[in-house]
Symmetry: C2
Subunit: 223 residues, 2 copies
DNA sequence: ATTAGAATTTTGAGTAGTCAAAATCACCGC
DNA sequence: GCGGTGATTTTGACTACTCAAAATTCTAAT
């Protein structure tokens, strides 16, 4: 039985939630899952029990949920479609990187195997989407690249923005306006715990100071 | 309340069914509707009563159903999305004209206003889809072009194939193989009631004979 | 050890869409 | 006018998904 849009969204949310998790357990609490899906807690519990029935997740009552091998593969394929579609909308249809997420959220559930492979081909088998998120392979494998955030990278050292871990449209437009899109080169000038801020130097020597919460969402690589 | 995929499919099926109808009533029988949606007769009845509640159709028990103004506009917009998507898949993604229908059937329900307008623009505001079906306007207006079929057009006269009224993949591949796609020029050599057949002369003087049922699905225009 | 508070699960109910089969209706031929 | 036939509607039931609110369980602080 092929998974419904709802099931695909649950699997994807668990996948994403788990990837944020530290610790070997990788158990995502139901509350977090419900929150990320915008659903009542009881709803998530019910659904997760059904997913466990069909072998897509392991469920530990009162502790949380974890994807099985099959579930993980399925989730990665949804993510693959989502990210290929986002890139396609930007690259081929000229949409902005801050407006493609919602369309991709729907399209990821209906594009056929054939269609997504055509898209992949037209794009030349890309490795990352417009936000720098890695595109899982046809087989459901994701290459997890270790990246610093602006909170952990070395100071006074040129780094390249590689990835943005927040899809909020206003945030993305802010980044674009200040040349902080993936691919851009910047330097962290200073971090200050007290003022909760990080100061950056951009390409043409513009300076900008952002909050630490925002800084944590920009992932970079030392060049 | 925005219409579900199911509602959109019902409206589209009624729209298409009605367009086949002769007579001023334009009342589509429930049996026909149920058949075209692949649904049990009782299911169609229930759904149509709900559609009537929300003012999208007029329902005459035991007689049939007819779209209201609002329903008709909505149906035309679904059709607009369907046909733009089909053309896009062929033109931009290089898919074959016999394999785009199923994808379009799903995509028509999830593409956003913004996305479909981008697609329309990239395609240069086309008037017909790969099968020659007219693309309704943004406002939900369809230009009904009067066309002959191969059963009614004059004999021994060059005509241009304009439209194919059957999405069956095998049939479409057959047409392609024999240069009978929209745009091609042909002539009807003969019709024979007894053998239920129509004989055609193609571009490079190839001849081919097809059944009347098939011939009725090819719409042409005298040049 | 108790216990308050938070997280989670359970319960009861509701919506959207579907089917099979029984009941009903419309119409045509006689 | 009377039946019979086929189309249509009604009925009762089921699946998938959801919520609000009550009940339960876990945990961490006293
Ligand atoms: Mn989604
Ligand atoms: Mn993305
Ligand atoms: Mn459809
Ligand atoms: Mn078409």
């Amino acid at each position: 039985m092929l998974p419904s849009s709802t099931v695909e969204n649950y699997l994807k949310a668990i996948f994403l939630g788990q990837s944020q998790l530290t610790g070997a357990q990788r158990l995502l609490p139901m509350g977090q899952l419900a929150l990320s899906l915008g659903v009542a807690p009881g709803t998530a519990t019910t659904m997760v029990k059904a997913l466990a029935e069909s072998g897509l997740v392991e469920y530990e009552p009162y502790n949380g949920v974890r994807l099985s091998g099959a579930g993980s593969r399925l989730a990665a394929l949804v993510l693959r479609r989502h990210r290929l579609i986002e890139l396609f909308l930007v690259q081929v249809l000229g949409m902005r990187w801050d407006e493609v997420h919602d369309d991709a959220e729907q399209l990821e559930h209906v594009v056929s195997e054939r269609l997504i492979e055509r898209i992949d081909e037209v794009l030349g088998h890309p490795e990352v989407d417009p936000h720098g998120d890695p595109i899982p392979s046809r087989e459901g494998e994701v290459v997890w690249r270790a990246l610093d955030s602006l909170l952990t990278c070395p100071l006074h050292t040129p780094v390249t923005v590689m990835r943005v871990t927040d899809q909020d449209a206003a945030f993305l437009r802010f980044l674009e306006k200040h040349d902080l899109k993936p691919g851009q080169s910047i330097e962290v000038e200073a971090r200050d715990e007290v003022s909760d801020s990080v100061s950056l130097k951009g390409k043409t020597d513009q300076r900008i100071t952002i909050g630490m919460r925002a800084a944590s969402k920009l992932l970079v690589e030392v060049r």
